[in-house]
């Protein structure tokens, strides 16, 4: 695997291998010295054209834990503000000879375009409303840690599916791991053609009771001007998941950032059925595994110890 662009490019075995690796990195993150020399001497550039807390910080930290040199470029405050094109910015960054470029961009296919321009590994950290594969992988990882295999599990994705790259990646990833996925939300926010993914579609939340996992999407306030829902108040009344709506054995997930009191009740966020903090923690280990896998693929992989990374300070 040279790039991570879309969940659609992966098969189940690749995901299992990657998440097994994430498991060993999760162990590293629990040590006193949370660093391994796997990517020593390699450069990782993170290039973020959209605001981000979780994804940018966890990719950055993941690269540092692997001992890579990390350069973080944000669109605001860089030459992008001065009108530099994506291609020119990428070519400038490529002059540093990075082994990997992690990119988030407001437009679909931006990460894929980079693969035509540079020889580095490209990680899609979110491209428009298209894909956010590392999120889907960390969500699968989080769920597996809590409930074991996803085989046969019922997962509901609730909210603004239309504008959500997380939904698109996660539908594919959950299905790949054997779960059945339903989407639920107001009809204005369920994209036409969703049935082609093999999802069930529901507008009312009644049968949500059958779900093992309820995956909530952020209600994006910036969409409110476009009449997708009549009001946030009505949306919350119909679709908010709170203590009254969440069954005792149902788990709830959210990619963040959450709008407390809109798509999710505060009571639920802080309950033991919420996996939201675990998702963030998983993000680090999974992203370490992604970078490790991409940068140790091909001929280089042979040189790596078969049983995983060796921590700094221990004999190789």
């Amino acid at each position: 695997m040279k790039h991570l662009l879309s969940i659609d490019d992966l098969d189940r075995e690749q995901v299992e291998t990657l998440l097994a690796r994430a498991d060993s990195f999760a162990e590293v993150t629990r040590r006193d010295i949370k660093k391994v020399p796997a990517l020593r001497g390699q450069t990782v550039v993170t290039l973020f054209y959209e605001s981000s807390t979780r994804t940018s910080s966890s990719f950055e930290l993941a690269a540092k834990r692997l001992s890579a040199d990390v350069v973080s470029v944000k669109a605001s405050g860089s030459a992008v503000d001065k009108g530099e094109s994506l291609k020119d910015t990428v070519e400038t960054i490529y002059a540093y000879d990075p082994a990997a470029i992690v990119i988030r961009h407001p437009y679909a296919g931006a990460a894929k375009m980079l693969t035509r321009w540079v020889d580095a590994s490209v990680v899609n950290a979110g491209d428009g409303m298209h894909q956010h594969p590392s999120q889907a992988l960390l969500d699968v990882f989080t769920l597996q840690n809590r409930m074991g295999s996803l085989e046969g599990k019922k997962i509901w994705i609730v909210g603004d599916v239309l504008h959500s790259r997380v939904a698109r990646s996660n539908i594919a990833a959950f299905q790949l791991m054997g779960a059945s996925v339903s989407v639920c939300g107001p009809p204005t926010l369920i994209p036409r053609g969703i049935e082609s993914t093999g999802c069930d579609e529901a507008f009312a939340g009644r049968s949500r009771e059958q779900a093992d996992v309820v995956y909530l999407l952020r209600m994006q306030n910036e969409r409110m001007g476009e009449n997708f829902v009549p009001s946030i108040r009505e949306y919350a009344r119909l679709f908010q998941v709170n203590e009254r709506r969440l069954g005792p054995r149902q788990l709830v997930m959210h990619p963040g950032p959450v709008n407390r009191g809109v798509e999710i009740g505060s009571d639920v966020i802080d309950s033991d059925r919420s996996l939201i903090s675990e998702q963030v923690a998983s993000g680090l280990a999974v992203r370490m595994a992604i970078l490790y896998d991409l940068l140790n693929s091909g001929d280089d992989a042979a040189e790596q110890p078969a049983d995983g990374p060796v921590p700094i300070g221990e004999p190789a």
Binding site: Y107, A108, G109
Partner: protein, 458 residues
Amino acid sequence: MNQAPEEVVELLPEPLVQRPGPEASLLIRQASLLDPAAGVDGEFDILVTGGEISEIAESGSLEAGEGVEVVEAAGLHVFPAFFDPHVHLRTPGQEHKEDIETGTRSAAAGGYAGLLLMANTTPPVSSPADVSALRHQAETEASVPIGFMATVTRDMAGTELTDMAELREAGAVGFTDDGLPITNPGIMRRALQYQRMCGGRIALHEEDPDLSAGGVMHEGDVSMSLGLRGVPSISESVMITRDAAIAGYECGQIQVQHLSAVESIEAIRQAKADGVDITCEVTPHHLCLTDEIVRSLDPNRHKMNPPLRTEKDRLALIDALIDGTIDCIATDHAPHAKHEKEVPYEAAMMGVTGLETAFSSIYTRLVKPGTITLELLIEKLGSGGIPFDIKPFTLTAGSTANLCLIDLEAEWVVGEDGYESRSHNSWCEDETLSGRVLMTLANGQVAYRLRSFSMGVA
């Protein structure tokens, strides 16, 4: 019934303008001639003298006079040259994409001998002075004859009509706000009322901007999967239905541009059945591609408006071409510079080039597999002028030489040797196509010959 009054038409200038040049004299020997409209189909010698087809005779029977070039064309085909009623040559204002010189060269390389230029330039062609200036420019730059469309509304703002009668007197062949729809039905109605006096068919880019709502590709399974905003098919068809109703009510003449969806075809069929004077075009890319190809997210080749739609739509377009619902093939040749296309899909400009590949692409994808006949392709590539009262070119003795010489066996890779166009956003770049234009005669002049194609002089 809807023609402009004759006294107006008589005053109008010639619709097409070209750079003057030497009149061709050549003998094309043993070529396969095909002109379905004239009933010509077979192997003949064709003699062009002083820019005119002077004789068509039994194959191998004609001898070249002095100074007459001889083209040995055994195994090659001669067709009447093509006419494209829908191209964007970007002059004035966006000459970094294309200009009249490069655009007409591109057309000649595709076998075209006549074009109608859209008016959405910078600034738009909205005044009689704009038309006059462009026609003047064409007299020095156009290697094939071109005509100019003027905008329906001033600066395409959609609010006030242009001086349509004066524009016609200045040489505007017809009217269009192409690039944008005419959203206000009241303006549409006024334009069609006024057209009864001044003539000039109104060509319409049919799209409801509120339904398109920032879409960048067809709305369907593929747009869902890619997370791209979709343009629903009904965005096109509801406007066609509206404008067909207005045109019917006002006895106006309209041309629906770049038809893309099955719903639109149904709307056109209904309007034609109701007796509305409505004509329509389809592009080569809508006949050949579907939205599935957008999965590659390559805006250079696959982003245009209207978007590529589904296989069902594509097959319906082919059926409509065959049954005559669709009047002609138009390329909507829309050149864009590299830096405008080398950006993420959503950010890229809409449009692809098509003049150099129109014949070859459809020949390769639809004629060779037997989906449509060669006769139909030649007819529909040649009939683009009819809605604008421009007669199709013909292979008959006594007519001006407007013809193309094509090697149907030749295979070539699009873009391998560059383009005549200034821009490289061909929708079939890197594809291997069959059928190569070797030479084009436009209005009696040799407008194009393939560099590697040599001729002998007697």
